[in-house]
Symmetry: C2
Subunit: 119 residues, 2 copies
């Protein structure tokens, strides 16, 4: 295997995308802008308060931009930046690993079966 560099930047990457929700938020933004309500529905299980905070964090670090259309009723959406897309690309191997190991993980973590269903 290709060894991880001892000068590994995993700490940096985790400061940006660590946690339970951020990778999923990025995943759901990769194909185009999403409104807040859409994201809340797509990222199943996240609370409104937590989603707001996660979106703010991702904005601060330049991974996504928030656009307020100044309309009534309010229209706001979130778009991933080119910088954010470079991060989404790093998540692809994790996606593949999860796809390949879905059944195995569901067998070993039955308590998570509400979120991880065997294929």
């Amino acid at each position: 295997m290709d060894p991880i560099d001892p000068e590994c930047g995993l700490d940096v990457a985790l400061a940006v995308v660590g946690g339970k929700w951020k990778p999923l938020i990025l995943y759901h933004l990769q194909h185009g802008p999403r409104r807040f309500g859409e994201l809340k529905r797509l990222v199943a299980g996240i609370s409104e308060k937590v989603l707001i905070q996660q979106l703010r964090d991702l904005q601060t670090v330049g991974v996504l931009v928030r656009r307020d259309y100044q309309e009534v009723p309010p229209r706001v959406d979130y778009t991933i930046t080119p910088f954010g897309m470079t991060l989404v690309e790093t998540l692809i191997p994790l996606c593949r690993w999860g796809t390949q190991n879905r059944a195995e993980v569901a067998r070993r973590l039955p308590e998570s079966s509400s979120s991880v269903s065997a294929a």
Copy 2:
């Protein structure tokens, strides 16, 4: 860019390695067994209680094994499994991303500069 498969297993991967600490724990286990005290020192900032729980979670899902040498004073270490190594490999692009973007992230997230130092 290689698009993420719509049947993406990111939910599965995050059920196993999601969170602030687990990727770092795996990273520090990739080159051989580590004792609890070593891990606590290597994964800077983690509390004893949280480390115990994270190690238990990773054991449950078969990513690492705990070995108790039945010695006095107690000697216990943790070793990554071949299954766990397949997961470590998926973290390499994240490491690289972090290495490439360390300065940029430190600039944008100055409040995290205690953990993310500009190179």
